[in-house]
Subunit: 316 residues, 3 copies
């Protein structure tokens, strides 16, 4: 069996589908595509059409998918926010809308506000479906691009020590990253969040079964030396009933140049899924270890190119 | 005269433009394109740009046109709902907006809420214009794709016996289908609708001149055996002043598995232009005769590819 | 130094960047592209992606840019009005949004409602940025396409006598045209506007330094014979506190067939950036000298193609 057969024609709905071999295949493909000349890439998906169905606002995920398809020589059929402007208005079910799209397209990328929609959609669709985020569910391609960024830097994705800061309760990317790192041995994640936004007990229990080591810490003081990566996320104001509590806590979790100088290692990657709204000071942007505005974002495109290529490329 | 000259550089505004020869040309071209390898299709419209101007919500017609152009190697310039987001806001006339678009594009596909707009637009435009639906006027490409689906199955489009159910008064597709079938000899359509939504006397009179046989029936009991196709449409709630009357009638016109088992022939195509909002039970979807979610929708793309190819392809 | 090196990898933010040599290069490139066969053009930008970020409604500039990229074989990633539908909603800064886009794209075209935004964006971006209009600031590509239209007709862009009518105070295109004509010797512009919408004293002073001759006139009577071009713009109702005054003045500045017959020269180009809302009568449209709906609009695409080609084309 060729490696590409792991993916050809398959859906990407959750990180639960992945094992060591398939994650490594995605990373190897992304790395290869990143080095391939522009014009050669155009020969990978000529004549393929990917439907981008975004039922929720998104610029980052939408545009990196759009660019990824086009850089491979494919084309897109695009919807943004059709909940208010399309057949959905006329009362069509998501299943019917999906069946319609798949008549025209070779694959579908969908973002939807309701958890579980993508699983349902993948069941009815005959073409491959890629989950671009469903509510507070999963966002598997974001986790893959983040962990690819770590892998690309350190050349391994086991024996990693990482720090995740912010909203661990609701952050779908955080959940997907924990799953991804659980696939590989000897990984440790330090978790720092307001107590209202700690990882749920259920998620903690599940992680134990997976054998990833999760260590909750309470302050910047406890951040260990030499993390491979720091992963900052937004502390979501709307989750707090006590706004003063929010304002107080928020200040405790702002990433500053001072903190980087004090606690980050020489090679620590400083990451964030973006958009940010104040929790990472712009003074950090030019630190060579900060990759959120550059490599991490760009890898979003390359990892998606890897997935499209693995799922859709004809191999004679 | 080569057949392609019937279409090259021409508008598609109404089925009134079509005769036996031109409909057969569209069908033959669609059938041929359907069998052509993906990469070969890309050589048909390289460098051609089609403007998709949709002044009314649409996902189905919009995306099948977008995919059709791109599968032929062409490109699109796309607007959705620009009535609220564009130059139209600044008070520009539809004629000026069209003249602008044609400077950038090789053809224009337009949907507009007002009947007759497409005729007006085609008059001012120097590039070919395709009507993608103007209010309750016509929707010629929908009728062509529906009748192509019948032709593809039975290999003829004369001596056809069809059933149309639902809103015959306002359904623009229904009007276009009647015109299309009138072009060929010995066709019979059985019409079933609430009495408020019967075909208008004017339309019935006109059909008589065209020599298509229209037979109005009053209930499912009267559906004849061995129809070539059943064509279901939405009964539009908004047309009824008496909502109880609507609810009662609606129930009489729901397509169920039971009805299919009882009244459909072995080869009867079960069709619907979609979206549906309850008038076709999902239990019918997996019946092999049901083509609304599959072949019929897919043929929408192929018939549009046929038209773009006939209208735009350079032939040296 | 090859001429193309003037532009390769550069931003286009203001006409202040241009000199005689660079304007002539744009015009020569646009003229050459206009004569190049469609399929050959596709070889200029294959594999290049241009991000179109329009934070303000636009159909004309948006679609001419979209078509320009695609006619050169490139692809676009497109946003329209993301101020209400995207990461911007989540509170992201324009700098972060730009940094994100440039990870996926080879260049960015942006329209933004706030003056000066494009300059700021170009400073943070590592890919070339093209200003597609920032508030009442500049709209350099519009001025270039307009002056290319004059150049194409008369084969020179010095010794030109032009007339500009309408809102000279707020019209960003007018300001850019004055700058463009100032680059070449012996140009004269006659300016006609309601006194509330006269060119500001600051702009008049600046023009003096630039050595373009500006002559304010007060009525149609004073329009000189044999202008090379007439450039009409919209008198903006919203600038007037006295609406009666507006209505009165507006009537004084409507371009009619009668005025063309009386005052235009045999070769005078009749121009308008569009959209128009009544200030140019449709009776003028078919006059062979009227180019606003045809050549002028089409040149918008060709000048943008020229700029994309100069900025982005790989030259081995």
């Amino acid at each position: 069996m060729k490696n590409s057969e792991i993916f050809f024609g398959k859906d990407i709905i959750s990180l639960d589908q992945f094992n060591r071999k398939s994650v490594e295949k995605v990373f190897a493909t992304a790395a290869k595509i990143k080095k391939t000349p522009t014009k050669k890439l155009l020969k990978i998906l000529p004549g393929k059409i990917v439907g981008l169905m975004f039922f929720e606002p998104s610029t980052r995920t939408f545009s990196s998918n759009s660019a990824a398809v086009k850089r491979l020589g494919g084309q897109t059929v695009e919807y943004q926010n059709p909940l208010s402007t399309s057949s959905v208005v006329k009362g069509e079910t998501i299943e019917d809308t999906t069946k319609m799209m798949e008549q025209y397209c070779d694959a579908i990328v969908m973002r939807h506000p309701i958890v579980g929609t993508l699983k349902k959609v993948a069941e009815v669709a005959d073409v491959p479906v890629i989950n671009a985020g469903d509510g507070i569910g999963e966002h598997p391609t974001q986790a893959l691009l983040d962990m690819f960024t770590v892998f690309e830097k350190f050349k391994h994705i086991d024996n990693i020590k990482g720090l995740i800061v912010g909203d661990l309760l609701n952050g779908r990317t955080v959940h997907s990253i924990i799953k991804c790192l659980s696939i590989f041995p000897n990984n440790t994640l330090y978790l720092l969040s307001p107590k209202q936004l700690r990882l749920s007990n259920k998620d903690l229990e599940e992680a134990k079964k997976r054998k990833i080591k999760l260590i909750e810490i309470k302050s910047f003081e406890e951040i260990p030396a030499d993390c491979h990566f720091w992963y900052w996320t937004r502390v979501q104001k709307e989750r707090f009933t006590d706004k003063q509590e929010y304002e107080k806590l928020k200040l405790n979790f702002i990433l500053t140049k001072k903190l980087v100088d004090k606690k980050a290692g020489k090679n620590t990657l400083i990451m964030h899924p973006l958009p940010r709204v104040g929790e990472v000071e712009t003074e950090v942007d030019n630190d060579p270890r900060a990759v959120y505005l550059t490599t991490e974002a760009k890898n979003g495109m390359y990892v998606r190119m890897a997935l499209f290529s693995l799922i859709l490329e004809d191999r004679k």
